[in-house]
Subunit: 604 residues, 2 copies
């Protein structure tokens, strides 16, 4: 069927594999092979200084800048300049990133046979290993005020440039540590394992000049509806980093369970988690946040309030209303119901204690703190003795007071609050004035683009991720059972946001549709949402991936058009294989093998 | 919140966990604890003979019946009475099943904390270990003509009875080896691991009297669209056996790839598989069929023809039409197109060789051979020189001739042919007369219940599994990309059988709806279908499970009603945890943890 060209005669390689997800702004490549030296060294220069060197044969002096501070124990319950106790120095973070990248490059097991017609010789001859070889990656970072960035380095300039010459000279040029980190996240995608050993790129000369459309490129992961462990979240961070997602929003507590340990209130998680073994200790949270920080993923938590707080009732029934009430449909959007009291000094004290405990612990690792505010149920307050009303006029000042109180603490801790859109659209709340622009509240929109437009028109910074396309839990059918004799759940038992969206739907979501140009600058970015009613560690990977990666390209490269889908199917398919093989992510299939192989059309 | 009763005072256990999936016909249980002795022994009596004993302290004589014949090499390319070379004796199969069950029982790690309100003491006091203990499982099988059953033992009487007395006396009573196997598949579901060590049932006294509604309880697994390995299929068989599914239909070949080695035509799979390492060797197939046979899962293959045969063209382009044609939408339902020639002696010879090779190899392990017959494309035959027509009147005699030829060989090999409904509904073909009733062709229906009714009205035996509910691949969005400028694929890119069906939809499918009572006896049973365009070994488990298990209860216990859903959510949830923990099956979530815990209503 196909001419059998002996492998050793193939000096250039059919340029069938495209690589790199998300797509760089500018991407030029040739079709020459460059092999990776097993002793490849990395040198990292900032301005004229060599900050760090990594690699087998590297022997130059390593002038450390004296900023490799050890990890510091967060200052528990301390008010003040929390960020001074930065978890790790940026240099230390970059040093680790270089080491990790080098290891990944040298140890990739990804042989891209799936992306070539079957039985075709696609690999370069191993004889050519003596030819062009990449022996050094030189990283040049233009001087920047790294010291002042601290933990906040993720918010620096993410642009980067990668050059690999025909002869194997590799240079990374950036203007900040986070730019360097992004380049290091791209680099391994240019290389493949050879089935006879060795690692090569078939793309030299390469020139990539890249920067993101949006800085907030997120994933929202719910660890409350079903138990998700720290190691599952770390695995998710690995996958996020590989597609340059930059924000992990952990929906840490909800009415179903309270896995988050608050050491000053030990019974809260001990009784509110699904099982004592499933509590996220302070150390767990710290390690996960640090793990994200080291990978360019700003990892922060949401404590949703005042709705979605029923699980407080396991330890403190007196602080909640409607806790344990079997008529959940009256008091909540889904079972179980239960909300924290709104007009109760004990409840306020409780929130104060939670905030005093958590804020100093999370602030060394991320700029954000999410206070929720969605699906707030009014009926519940008919059950609070000192309210006995569901009148919004009665409720609003109480709600405003509690949000103001909590947000003041968040800002005092140097953090930026995030809230769900309901607080501004349905309740028209106001928020404390920020000390700096970066602390101005961000509103997370979820219902549709009209809602987002309204949020932006009010002048708020916003995050997109519309429920009808970027909710990864949608379309799998309702999770509520029919009561005996009930007709409430009609066949075919669909959920509100059915049908299921695959990676193509996620990819075609245009967050800018219907949003006037002059409001675009208020968009920080967006995120997909993995609500966990139907997800736990066993099936979360194929639910999240490749769809969150599909969103990552929209967030990095901007809205897509239909004509991008075909090319994306190969590149995303390639990312998926790499994620499965090198990162151990159980991502769902992007396209069937026949289609990835480009033997013929899979288009219509 | 909850009264803290010291564990040691809890002498009876709250009877919250229900266990056993699929639901037995008759299931009576108490709430006494019986511990499993670590030296539990099993004795297996047929009539008055002890056939086998297994267990630590067992020391009685083991009169073997002399039928533990070793596995025999299948008689390659031999015509005749294939079944005489049975793969393994039934006694050997049961001996292994007893050993496996004992091991599973003693080694379960399933602590059912998820099925009790959080922080509740639900486990029996370990002190009680000295009380009722199960020391022996006595299996009594009424004498049956086992010798004549041979490999076909799966088709025997599946009814069984299990008794566990309050004091721990356990008895299994059956009238055939397959009944015994089914009882052994139920038994472990009554037992739990204790978090302090040991295994117990909280349900004594137990009485289960059980038998299936249908004998054909299947799963159709496509190993052609994406590569699925023998070990993935074995894992799937483990899960199938745990819910008493009895038939594994392997859709072994299709236009995308031909993974199935035919040793007399070595180039067929060598060139037609996606990769040489992905060929299913004769030994692979034999091991998988044997694995199924040993677990009560009759495992057989489909070689779909004459449609879905494009992959033959990789080795033999001259035997096919439309192979490699880029206008796939003209010549096939999905890419790629290509069909075997219908009026070509070389193609007929090819099929003869395939059949002569495969039939003796598969016949020791299963009663069935599936010859496909779906989505036969007529346009393709405009390209066959000696036909040059798409007129059904021209095509039909050619199609009839090839089916008759292949089916004669299948019957001669002692097998029962299965075909897709198109051959009788669209083509009105006839089939060779069977020698015995058990070899009469079975028609697999898939389009809808009206199609099934028509098949039954023609007097055919049938298998159900309607595409709109029991196709597990449905609702994940189309897998075809839009061509440049094409409007063929409209947003929201849904597939034909959208939306996604979760386990509740699968559970509520009533195959008898619209089928007149007098035709019911023609129904052999049904199966769910895992077409693999969007599935490979990485994401297949959560796609198949728990949905195929949901279907297993419909197939075992008969059609369900809405009021069954609530109870099912706990029992299926329990099966899922056990499958994850004890079998390593990455099944999707059945219900969120809060709901499984029965702390409050999850009903509407």
């Amino acid at each position: 069927m196909r001419s059998l060209i002996p492998t050793c005669l193939l000096l250039t390689v059919t340029n069938f594999v495209y690589a790199v997800w998300p797509e760089p702004n500018h991407y030029q490549k040739g079709n020459n092979v460059v092999w990776l030296s097993p002793t490849v060294r990395f040198t990292y220069h900032r301005g004229d200084l060599i900050v760090h060197g990594e690699g087998g044969s590297y022997s130059a002096a390593l002038p450390q800048l004296g900023r490799f501070t050890e990890f510091l124990q967060p200052q528990w319950l301390l008010n003040g300049n929390y960020h001074q106790t930065s978890a790790e120095s940026v240099d230390e973070i970059l040093k680790k990133a270089i080491k990790r990248t080098r290891k990944h490059l040298l140890n990739t097991r990804f042989v891209p046979w799936k992306f070539h017609p079957r039985n075709e010789s696609f690999e370069p001859p191993t004889l050519s290993q003596t030819e062009a070889t990449l022996k050094e990656v030189v990283i040049r970072e233009r001087e920047s005020d790294v010291e002042s960035l601290g933990y906040d380095y993720i918010h620096g300039d993410e642009s980067y440039q990668i050059k690999i010459s025909k002869k194997g000279k590799a240079t990374i040029s950036t203007s900040s540590p986070i730019g360097t980190l992004r380049a290091l996240q791209t680099l391994p995608q240019l290389f493949y394992a050879h089935s006879s050993g060795g690692v090569y790129t078939p793309y030299s000369p390469v020139l990539i000049m890249d920067k993101p459309k949006w800085s907030y490129r997120g994933l929202n992961l719910d660890i409350s509806r079903n138990p998700i462990s720290p190691s599952d979240v770390k695995r998710t961070i690995d996958a996020m980093a590989s597609v340059k997602l930059s924000r992990l929003h952990i929906h840490a507590t909800d009415s179903q369970s309270w896995p988050l340990d608050i050491p000053s209130i030990p019974s809260l998680a001990a009784k509110g988690a699904y099982h004592p073994s499933l509590v996220w200790s302070a150390a767990n949270l710290r390690r996960v946040q640090r793990y994200g920080l080291e990978r360019g993923v700003s990892t922060f938590i949401e404590i949703d309030m005042p709705g979605h707080t029923g699980s407080i009732g396991h330890a403190f029934p007196n602080l909640t209303v409607a806790f344990g009430n079997d008529r959940w449909e009256k008091f909540a959007a889904e079972p179980p119901c239960g909300q924290i009291k709104l007009n109760d000094s004990a409840a306020t004290d409780f929130l104060d204690t939670v905030m005093a405990d958590i804020l100093p612990r999370v602030s060394p690792f991320s700029r954000y703190f999410h206070t929720g505010g969605d699906e707030f149920n009014l009926e519940s307050y008919l059950l609070e003795d000192s309210i006995r009303s569901k009148d919004p006029e009665v409720i609003k000042p109480l709600l405003q007071a509690i949000i103001t109180r909590v947000h003041r603490k968040i800002m005092h801790a140097g953090l930026t609050p995030i809230v769900w859109e309901e607080l501004v659209l349905d309740w028209n709340l106001t928020f404390p004035s920020p000390v700096s622009e970066s602390q101005r509240v961000i509103v997370q929109t979820w219902r549709n683009s009209l809602a987002m437009k309204k949020v932006l028109e009010k002048g708020y910074r916003a995050i997109f991720g519309s429920g009808d396309v970027w909710y990864l839990d949608c379309g799998y059918g309702g999770f509520i059972n029919p009561r005996h004799g009930s007709n409430a759940i009609k066949e075919p038992y669909l959920d509100w946001c059915s049908p299921t969206k695959n990676w193509r739907h996620v990819y075609m979501y245009n967050p800018l549709a219907g949003i006037p140009q002059e409001l675009h600058s208020l968009l920080e970015g967006g995120e997909t949402h993995m609500w966990a009613e139907n997800v736990d560690p066993i099936n979360m990977d194929p639910m999240i991936w490749p769809r969150a990666a599909s969103a990552a390209e929209v967030l990095w490269s901007g809205p897509r058009v239909r004509d991008d889908i075909k090319g994306a199917s190969y590149r995303l398919g390639e990312w998926r294989e790499r994620a499965v093989i090198d990162l151990g992510i159980a991502a769902s299939v992007v396209q069937m093998t026949y289609c990835l192989m480009r033997e013929g059309s899979c288009e219509l």
